[in-house]
């Protein structure tokens, strides 16, 4: 697993692994802080085709249910089954064990607009 400084970020608070055909997606530490205790995730089924910018799954806390958007287009090939019993893993380790889904990226060029961790932190005022 990459350290957070190597990940790519969206303005809607998702992260994406930087290289490879199949890449993991998750939500940022800032996002899990805003949501608070995550109590539920509605993960897609492997095989689902997703388009960049499309809502692909929902994470829910007592405060809010938040859509998570696909940072890139592709096919969902794996979901993090551990979240079903223990969604709070996302709070504890958002960049590691709290990953959400893995996508086989169909168009790697789509990542060109994504941010570095430093730029992301600047964008959220940290």
């Amino acid at each position: 697993m990459a350290s957070s400084s190597e990940l790519l970020f969206t303005s809607s608070h998702e992260w994406l692994q930087p290289g490879g055909d199949v890449r993991r997606i998750g939500i940022t530490d800032h996002a899990q802080h805003l949501l608070g205790d995550i109590v539920y995730t509605d993960l897609p089924k492997p095989g689902k085709q997703v388009k960049k910018g499309e809502a692909i799954l929902v994470v829910e806390s007592p405060k809010a249910a938040a859509d998570v958007y696909a940072p890139v287009s592709g096919e969902v090939v794996e979901v993090n089954g551990a979240l079903e019993g223990e969604p709070s893993i996302i709070n504890q380790d958002p960049y590691g064990a709290g990953w959400l889904v893995a996508i086989r990226v169909s168009n790697p060029g789509e990542t060109s607009g994504m941010m570095s961790e430093a730029d992301y932190k600047k964008s959220i005022g940290e």
Partner: protein
């Protein structure tokens, strides 16, 4: 503060005493019992008596009266719950709605026998047409969200009839959460647009979202930041020019009722919450009423049954292209009666004052809260004051949640928190027009006390509520460890 609110009460089963009775029902004779038993399959017959509480009539009365006193309610306390319009509901509405001629009707009665009630429907439709500035109004929807669904179903029917192929609905990120759900339920795809830095719709983002699939935009105006969409005319022009319709979420109508009309702003479909703006006690889950107003070109799609005047009589009818029925009967009639009672007792000038004082009160609160409650969008608002404690949450680890819980200690219902989602750590305060300056000053004093406590005794906030019978709940545990199986004596209920 109401001492009863904080009293620990036993369950009614816990004050049960064997053999004690409030009511003695007549006992069935042997043959009746045998006949009943013969009809009930053996596997459904109870093996032991149910655990019904055995109490005297006086015990039962005291128990339920005290339970009612534990309610935190607008009748007893200030209730500044943002986006909910918890205002005083004048008692005359209750008196009128309880009249036997309204309260004891049966929905299956012939329309010839309920002309008075149909006239109530008709007259309220006419008043709401004036209030909304639109050509037609249905009173059918039983609540705000059903009104949203009805409105979106009307828009879908309109686009189908005109073969436009439009199936996308644009919704700003400040919208009520029900909007995307209603649009999706009516068969649309939802496209969210971000708000600008001023809390209003960002016209560039909107322009980018509009295309030949755009069926409608759903807007709340004033929006959930408590702000009037300043570009509403331009938004209407852009959507109409693109072939879409404008949907108005009237949950915040209290801010403009009598002073500005959605129809004049260019909206084609509007739902309103009678139980909020036109005053029915609500907050306990209903009943509500979510009438929908539509522009002339959409009248033919209104749900059935619709009420109209034919000569000197009133009658039900179904418009030609009606989206159909929304509920088994006509509407939540009691709410309709209360709304007409409210509208007529206020009169046109009274409704004008509603919006004036609702806005004045919210601005008074917004501008008199201590500085830790930052104003994300300046010093002016409509009917609700949005503030954020984002800075304090970072510097002192005191969250909006902690402040809401501490307000309970101080005798206030907490405002809405963490909504709208686009402002982190926010509190949304809607004081309504019916509260006096003294009440608002009391609330402001409580917020000042909290501001002091953030500095002096932050743990009092982090642990709040400290003075209620029940301390802080673990909200996450309740949602994670789902255990909703009920048991009644020896009989499992689920």
């Amino acid at each position: 503060m109401n001492g009863m609110l904080f009293e620990k009460l036993p369950l009614v089963n816990e004050i049960s005493s064997p053999g004690r009775r409030g009511v003695l029902p007549p006992s069935a004779d042997q043959s009746e019992r045998r006949a009943a038993r013969a009809k009930l399959p053996a596997n459904l017959r109870r093996k032991a008596a149910p655990a019904l509480p055995e109490v005297s009539e006086l015990d039962a009365m005291r128990h339920f009266t005290r339970l009612s006193q534990k309610n935190y309610s607008i009748d007893a306390q200030f209730y500044p719950l943002g986006s909910c319009t918890m205002k005083y509901n004048p008692r005359i509405n209750e008196k009128v709605a309880a009249m036997a001629g309204f309260a004891r009707l049966h929905p299956m009665q012939e329309s010839a026998d309920i002309q008075g009630s149909l006239r109530i429907f008709h007259d309220l439709q006419e008043i709401l047409k004036q209030v909304l500035g639109l050509g037609g109004v249905t009173l059918c929807p039983a609540a705000g969200a059903q009104g949203e669904f009805a409105g979106m179903a009307i828009i879908r029917a309109y686009h189908r009839d005109n073969n436009t192929g439009r199936d996308e609905v644009i919704i700003p990120d400040s919208a009520h959460g029900t909007n995307p759900a209603s649009a999706a339920f009516a068969g649309f795809k939802v496209r969210e647009v971000k708000s600008g830095a001023d809390g209003c719709v960002d016209l560039d983002a909107l322009r980018a979202a509009i295309n030949d699939k755009t069926a409608a935009i759903m807007l709340t105006n004033p929006n959930t930041c408590g702000l009037f969409e300043k570009d509403i005319k331009e938004i209407a022009r852009m959507i109409h020019a693109a072939g879409g319709l404008l949907y108005y979420d009237g949950a915040n109508l209290n801010a403009i009722v009598g002073r500005a009309r959605p129809g004049d702003m260019g909206f084609d479909v509007v739902h309103m919450n009678l139980h909020k703006t036109f005053s029915t006690p609500h907050g306990g889950g209903g009943p509500g009423a979510g009438p929908v107003g539509v522009a002339e070109r959409l009248i033919n799609y209104l749900p059935a049954p619709h009420v109209r005047k034919a000569g000197s009589k009133y009658e039900f009818y179904s418009p030609d292209r009606s989206i159909g029925k929304l509920l088994a009967f006509h509407a939540n009639a009691g709410v309709i009666v209360r709304a007409l009672s409210y509208a007529m007792s206020q009169g046109g000038t009274g409704l004008w004052d509603v919006a004036t004082y609702a806005t004045l009160n919210a601005n008074y609160v917004l501008n008199n809260l201590p500085a830790v409650f930052e104003r994300p969008f300046g010093n002016l608002c409509k009917h609700e004051a949005l503030v954020t404690v984002r800075r304090i949450s970072k510097e002192k680890d005191i969250k909006a949640f902690d402040i809401a819980k501490r307000l309970l200690d101080l005798g206030y219902h907490a405002p809405t928190i963490y909504f709208p989602l686009l402002v982190p750590e926010c509190l949304l305060i809607e004081p309504t027009e019916t509260e006096s300056k003294e009440t608002l000053d009391g609330f402001i004093a409580a917020m000042k006390q909290i501001a002091t406590e953030i500095e002096s005794t932050p743990d009092v906030l982090r642990n709040a509520p400290n003075e209620l019978p029940t301390g802080r709940m673990d909200e996450a545990a309740a949602a994670k460890a789902l255990n909703v199986c009920c048991q009644w004596g020896d009989v499992p209920m689920a």
